[in-house]
Symmetry: C2
Subunit: 271 residues, 2 copies
């Protein structure tokens, strides 16, 4: 992470307050922000393996991504048979269109097109219903998740630079260390503890909630980061895009959130 | 298709009456038959790109496939948020396990593992709820779909050998001809017309139903066949497995059904 340190810190200083403002504004403002982030991250993802000759269908992928966001935003109710039917019809449509694109890598293009929707729009898009879940709690929970992930990110970088010795997943992300990861986890825990403390009211968290949500943001979020690093490494690219200078693209910026957001929301729904 | 003609014809003579008997027996017999077919076809699919170095996780893929079949067989009711949550958790589990497998082709293995579940278990498995849909109609509809697909298959081969000139998708499947495909479509239409005629009672089909179902079995089913041919061609293998001699594997045997079964069922649910 060190290589992107400076740019990232700058963006955090400008970006985090702006995103918190968007969360508090909610409604169409937050939904549009997430929609733009999802589409930019999908674009990064679909370009990721261009060097290997994979060209997923951006039109179908992003079209499907937008459908998912509409579904989330308007809280559409469909039964599970309808959902399964829609997924299958969309899958066959993607395969059909790929058959007539006559490209190499039929399977890779089809699966990457579909996976992009799942990996980015279905997961990151869950921030929209999380924000709207019920007015005060949704706003606070969404803020807490975003702060926990991004403080984890910064603390992991700091702790890693200070004490990082034991490599954690050297094949995937050679700079990540156990010490850095523990620092990140500790930072997530602190964020949720502050939210629990009562100074930030309305979001009633038990210690179990704090523990589980910290693990999701501070442990699974980092796993999401490792995975994206590994995909990039295998694709032979360093940064997944160039939209945010020094930040390695929008996808990089959201790689931890991709895991942390939906899992936090799922936990919140079933706790 | 001509290359697999003889073995295929033999299996059809033994196989079709046996499968019709299983459909009429229903319940656990038919469900187990579909379950075995799904797992064998998934195994073929997961081996398909071994030559390219792709090794999807068979344990997770087939485990997920079995979960889907259980869901279908017991007609489990879950809400769409629960379904989406389960899909995401399973996706992250697959990615997590792949991260620690330390293999090349992280993305290819993850997406192929997940796609195998969708492409085979979710689609072919829909024959189970279709059979059980409501006693007489489900049995008849399932029989009609299977007969329509397999008569289409045989008629397409016959018509293609007799009159086949104009190639339809030469890049994907060089032997398939427009004339053969039209022959297959005509055969599907005949099968559904016989079911409509009233001699086989209980399944009330309008002419619209006959037209739509014939197109699904006789046109989209063939598209499914072309796609599997193209995947095999790109993978550099001829037959996707060797379980049924001369038949090119279980996946080959069901490639048309993969498209025809769920789409026929979806049409039947929404008509």
């Amino acid at each position: 992470m060190a290589e992107k340190g400076k740019g990232r810190t700058l963006i955090n200083f400008i970006g985090i307050p702006a995103i918190l403002a968007l969360i508090w504004a909610g409604g169409v403002y937050f939904a549009l922000f997430i929609g733009i982030a999802v589409l930019l991250a999908m674009n990064d993802f679909y370009n990721l393996y261009a060097g290997k000759g994979y060209f997923p269908s951006k039109i179908l992928g992003m079209g499907g991504g937008i459908l998912v966001l509409i579904f989330y935003n308007f809280n559409l109710e469909i039964s599970s048979p309808e959902l399964i039917g829609s997924i299958l019809v969309f899958t066959f449509l993607t395969m059909f269109s790929e058959l007539f694109r006559k490209r190499d890598h039929f399977l890779e293009n089809v699966t990457m097109t579909l996976f992009g929707i799942l990996y980015i729009s279905v997961s990151l898009g869950s921030l929209i219903p999380m924000r709207e879940a019920d007015t005060a709690n949704g706003t606070l929970l969404t803020s807490a998740v975003i702060l926990a992930v991004w403080f984890c990110d910064s603390a992991a970088m700091g702790a890693g630079m200070l004490w990082g010795k034991t490599k954690i997943v050297p094949w995937a992300s050679p700079k990540k260390s156990v010490q850095g990861s523990l620092g990140g986890l500790a930072a997530s825990f602190c964020v949720y503890t502050i939210f629990k403390s009562g100074n930030i009211g309305g979001l009633a968290l038990s210690w179990t909630d704090v523990a589980v949500l910290s693990l999701i943001a501070g442990f699974l979020g980092q796993i999401g980061d490792f995975m994206e690093s590994w995909m990039k490494r295998q694709a032979g690219v360093k940064d997944s895009g160039s939209f945010l200078m020094g930040h390695g693209g929008v996808l990089d910026r959201f790689d931890s959130m991709i895991f942390a957001a939906p899992l936090s929301y799922v936990y919140f729904l079933i706790r």
